[in-house]
Symmetry: C2
DNA sequence: GACATGCATCGATGATCTTCGATATATTGA
DNA sequence: TCAATATATCGAAGATCATCGATGCATGTC
């Protein structure tokens, strides 16, 4: 588990001049994390909740089985959009603040065409 | 199920209260359009170009065959992100202004967590 | 009209993704 | 220690996707 090495090209805004392949891939990966209705709903539910959201609160509103929700949650955490916190046997999720800024920055195209 | 006649559920911001299934799907669709490195690069190339971009200018920088680029361009146009203009036998593409605003609005999560 | 060129469409292939039942792992309570 | 519960992981099935060669359809040129 290297922690020190890894430039790992972070996602670049769509308006970046001379975007590299690695940046394009990282940016696409971030968007792809939100490219599923279930994951959009999860982010929406977490974003509009005052408190952190338990995984068990998601199965019913999403209408998906527990393993499926777990799968989507993992993808969102891996993408850096959600933060996972274990409380006893429950898993709670919150929006990751970095992600909010990153997403807005990446999606920003203003100044390019308007 | 549907209300009266549907407004064709446009994508809703991630911070929308009580997001519907249709809105979640539309939002996911928009993100999915940008969920591929090739499409991110296309949008980037078009966004950073002063003038509209010819399809033929994309094959080489993307390193993809002509049918593949055509496929990606169609997806971006369908998603409302690019606008297609035919000039003689050439196809030119520009950023669609609506998309710029829509994307920024959908990706906006500020005020929710920060 | 015949030919060349730019792009879209078709068809096939291999990869990736979503979904869920079954099962494993971890934590709590008795 | 044993049973119950919450979540993650595994494995499989079906769907979707990216890719490209071959081909069709326009448009422009001679």
């Amino acid at each position: 588990m290297s922690t020190t090495l890894e430039p790992v090209a972070c996602c670049a805004p769509l308006s970046t001049a001379a975007m590299s392949d690695a940046e394009a891939s990282a940016t696409a990966e971030l968007f792809r994390a939100l490219g599923d209705p279930a994951r959009v709903r999860i982010v929406n539910l977490v974003a509009t909740s005052d408190e952190s959201v338990c995984a068990c609160e998601l199965y019913e509103p999403l209408g998906l089985a527990q393993p499926t929700v777990s799968h989507h949650l993992k993808k969102l955490v891996d993408a850096g959009l959600l933060e996972r916190e274990q409380r006893g046997k429950w898993a709670y999720f919150t929006l990751k603040r970095d992600a909010v800024e990153k997403l807005a920055a990446v999606a920003d195209l203003k100044g390019v065409c308007c």
